[in-house]
């Protein structure tokens, strides 16, 4: 254990019990700052190009709001369940944590499934693939980038569930779970902007 002290050496919670844990949390926030810029830049590109449909279909024509609404509901709920997982973790309830995390993963899988279906549908029904227009390119890269984040989140949280069973809640696993939940909330936050800017505004035209 390192013994460097910080101004703030109160032990608040398991994930902040060690310097390593605090380092990870801070580092992760910085990483999220980078993610803000990453998604922000993709949004900027999408906003610039969303009306460039190259004689093809536009958002107004193809976006299926019901499916987006369902995806939104699922992701929002999964964000909520990941909060529950952290709460269970703070109660030192290993089973509860694992359970809530599992629910989160299942919801995430549902989301991802719907997204894949949605993409498939666009390509299938409207021939709206990545090469169709600047609009389609920026749409798929932005929403796809979010989708990749979801997929990574699924893998990550699943791994953590495994670790939880193997090692229990420790100062090593707790920060990881906390980070995963931060990550998951962040994905939800990004989705808020996606359904607002891409889908809803796209639908309005």
């Amino acid at each position: 254990m390192s013994h460097v002290q910080t101004e703030d050496n109160r032990i608040e919670s398991l994930e902040r019990a060690t310097l390593e844990g605090r380092n990870k949390i801070l580092g992760f926030w910085v990483f999220l700052g980078a993610e803000v810029v990453i998604f922000g830049t993709l949004f900027a590109a999408h906003i610039a190009l969303r009306s460039e449909v190259n004689y093809g279909v536009s958002g107004t024509e193809i976006f299926a709001l019901p499916i987006v609404a369902i995806m939104t509901a699922i992701l929002l709920t999964s964000s909520m369940t990941s909060v529950m997982a952290i709460q269970a973790m703070h109660r030192h309830d290993v089973k509860g944590t694992a359970l809530w995390l599992t629910i989160t993963v299942l919801l995430a899988l549902g989301f991802l499934g719907l997204e894949i279906y949605e993409f498939y549908h666009y390509v299938d029904a409207y021939n709206f693939n990545i090469k169709a227009s600047p609009f389609s390119t920026s749409f798929y890269v932005l929403v796809g980038c979010h989708g990749v984040h979801v997929a990574i989140g699924i893998l990550w949280i699943s791994l953590l569930i495994g670790q939880l069973f193997k090692k229990g809640l420790t100062v090593v696993t707790a920060p990881k779970i906390y980070l995963a939940s931060l990550y998951w909330h962040f994905i939800d936050v990004v989705w808020v902007f996606i359904f607002t800017v891409v889908y809803l505004m796209g639908k309005v035209g």
Binding site: G33, H90, T170, H185, V192, T196, L200
Partner: protein, 108 residues
Amino acid sequence: MQQASQSPAGDYVRRSRTPEGSRNHLITFVISIVLTILAFAAVMIPGLSREFVYSLLVLMAILQVLVQLGIWMHLKDRGHFWAILAMIFGGLVVVYAVVSVLFWTWYQ
């Protein structure tokens, strides 16, 4: 895992009762749902002006994100100075990017 037994994790659990009730989190959830429904409704209701819908959408999104960042992601809690800074700075860069795109990419 031996390392954990070295750490004060054991005593800590007894000492700290989680101060955060789940109420805040549930309220956040409800707020998010409501904001989302409002946003979808604004688009689905016919006859609203585009400007109105756009501003409403942006407002809803910003509110929702603030609530989620603040409560779900604990930004409102103590000890998040650098985290908040990271978010603000990231947000600032994004605003530059979006503004530049909106106004100058398609200038003329």
